[in-house]
């Protein structure tokens, strides 16, 4: 039971780390898209 709880918490932890990187990639993507329209 304890091992399942640790696995669950670690998986959620990795999920939140990945979510943070998704935000960073989103920012980069938006900037790249926005800048191509600026002359």
């Amino acid at each position: 039971m304890k091992k399942i709880a640790i696995f669950y918490t670690v998986t959620l932890g990795i999920f939140w780390e990945v979510a943070y990187v998704v935000v960073i990639i989103g920012v980069g993507w938006l900037f790249a898209l926005a800048i191509q329209f600026i002359r």
């Binding site: 939140w16 780390e17 943070y20 990187v21 960073i24 800048i35 191509q36 600026i38």
Partner: protein
């Protein structure tokens, strides 16, 4: 009056140095076994058997000659760390030199220092034909050095709690994840191994989807993961990440570069259920803000020059390099010469700022670090507030890093000293580069890349560059990784040895 180090102190340093060298020797059995069993490369494997024996002999001899029961204090621990990184460089360079892919022992030393310090600058010749055994060793270097050479010694070879903790401090890690340093070391390796398994599977599957054979895909995946998560930037093929020509491969690599640049303490908090920490921590907030600023600067520079007209290409060529520079990884999806010939001064300045500031503290990343940048920003805010408000007002500035803390003068002083040290290092390499005839911006770019443990090159780093510049970059990589303190401790030890009474 400077006191000459006592014989017992020197013996203490020798003993612990011997134990760490022993650890380096044992790790060489990994490529030896992999070369024999997995890759069927007996000749390259033999290079590691020879080198491992040399390292183990030196390690055992030092441990035996300097045998002591004394625990290690902080000063000598820093000397041990500074010396052990030099020893690791020299001993690990032996198998690389034996591969025949390096022009000199200095070049092989440059490569191993670049690996252990998670820099990624390379002087290898004909990388595409280097044996898998030697290639594995190139990538194991960052994986060992990134987590810390002393961390391995703490886990397996060094006894004594305070001595272990002092060795841990010497590697520029001042944050313990849990009260016990042994458990901290174990947790650092647990995070790295868990991500190694996950990263190798994901990158391996992506590799197979783009046409690599399974064995090749998983070998590339393991190498790219080790050098990506540990922010080193080595790759098994000479075109680096450009070799794969895959958007998916680039995006997955971005994930591991960013996660690898996180503070191990942040990983610990998140993995133990404190999920909100990722959004509240001063380092992740500063990292996001800095990435936005350098992205704006770099992309404006690229737009100004009209280098990449399409948004998708701008993302793949521009943003990938920004993240790679900011996390101090050094993976590239462009050729080195393109930085100078195509990107222009403004975009290059953006990348230099990213490289100089670096990733998070207590991680595998280099540079000044986000924690310091955040504290300096908060200290500025505090000072500006003090000027604007009434002279009798007491201005208090808080920041959140694992727990909420108040900015103190002592803390700001320590942060500024290390920051100044980094600027000194960046300047030193630039000065030597300019003195040898390289243009200022090129020399600044390469020097920041070396001292910030990044690994980007604009073309200066090459086997044909002057030996003095190779030595300068080796010193920059070494001092940058150890955040100068251990290097100063070693320098002070030699001064005391020569001038002390």
């Amino acid at each position: 009056m400077i006191l000459k180090p006592q014989v017992s102190e020197i013996k203490n340093i020798g003993y612990y140095l011997g134990r760490i060298i022993l650890g380096i020797g044992f790790t060489m059995f990994l490529p030896f076994i992999a070369g024999l069993i997995l890759f069927s490369e007996p000749n390259p494997a033999l290079d590691f058997l020879i080198s491992a024996n040399i390292a183990i002999f030196i390690g055992l001899a030092l441990s035996w000659l300097c045998k002591t029961d004394r625990d290690l204090h902080i000063g000598p621990a820093m000397v041990v760390i500074a010396l052990s990184w030099l020893a690791a460089m020299a001993l690990s360079a032996i198998p690389l030199l034996l591969s025949g892919h390096y022009k000199s022992f200095l070049d092989a030393c440059f490569e191993t220092m670049s690996g252990f310090t998670t820099t990624g600058l390379t002087l290898v010749q004909d990388l595409d034909h280097l044996s898998r055994t030697h290639n594995l060793w190139r990538h194991l270097g960052p994986f060992i050095g990134g987590q810390g050479i002393a961390i391995i010694a703490i886990l397996f070879l060094v006894r004594g709690t305070s001595g272990s903790f002092n060795l841990y401090l010497g590697e520029a890690r001042d944050e313990k994840l849990v009260p016990n340093v042994m458990h901290t070391a174990r947790f650092i390796w647990a995070i790295s191994i868990a991500y190694l398994i996950l990263g190798t599977i994901v990158l391996g599957l992506v590799g197979m989807s783009i046409g690599l054979k399974p064995q090749s895909a998983f070998f590339h995946a393991a190498c790219i993961f080790m050098a990506g998560f540990d922010t080193a930037g080595f790759a098994p093929q000479s075109p680096n990440i450009l070799y794969y020509h895959s958007l998916m491969f680039e995006i997955v690599t971005i994930f591991f570069m960013v996660i690898g640049s996180f503070n191990f303490n942040l990983h610990y908090q998140i993995w133990t259920g404190n999920f909100k920490e990722i959004w509240k921590n001063i380092e992740t907030r500063t990292l996001l803000l800095v990435i936005m600023i350098v992205t704006l600067i770099t992309m404006a520079g690229l737009r100004q020059r009209g280098v990449y007209s399409d948004g998708m290409i701008l993302f793949r060529k521009g943003f990938f390099q920004i993240i790679s520079g900011q996390t101090t990884t050094g993976y590239m999806t462009i050729y080195a010469q393109q930085f100078i010939k195509e990107w222009g001064d403004l975009a290059l300045t953006g990348i230099i700022i990213a490289m100089a500031l670096g990733g998070c503290a207590c991680s595998t990343a280099g540079g000044i670090k986000m924690l310091r940048v955040g504290i300096i920003y908060k200290a500025f805010r505090q000072d500006i507030k003090s000027v604007l408000l009434s002279p009798t007002a007491i201005v208090v500035q808080k920041f959140h890093h694992i727990k909420t803390m108040f900015i103190e003068d002592k803390q700001v002083r320590a942060v500024l000293i290390v920051t100044l040290g980094y600027f000194f290092l960046y300047g030193l390499g630039t000065l030597v580069g300019v003195g040898l005839g390289y243009p200022f911006l090129n020399a600044l770019f390469e020097s920041t890349s070396a001292a910030g443990n990044v690994g980007f090159s604009c073309g200066i780093t090459d086997a044909s560059m002057p030996a003095i510049l190779k030595v300068t970059y080796i010193i920059e990589m070494w001092a940058g990784r150890l955040e100068l303190m251990s290097v100063f401790a070693l320098f002070g030890f030699f001064v005391a040895f020569v001038k002390g009474r």
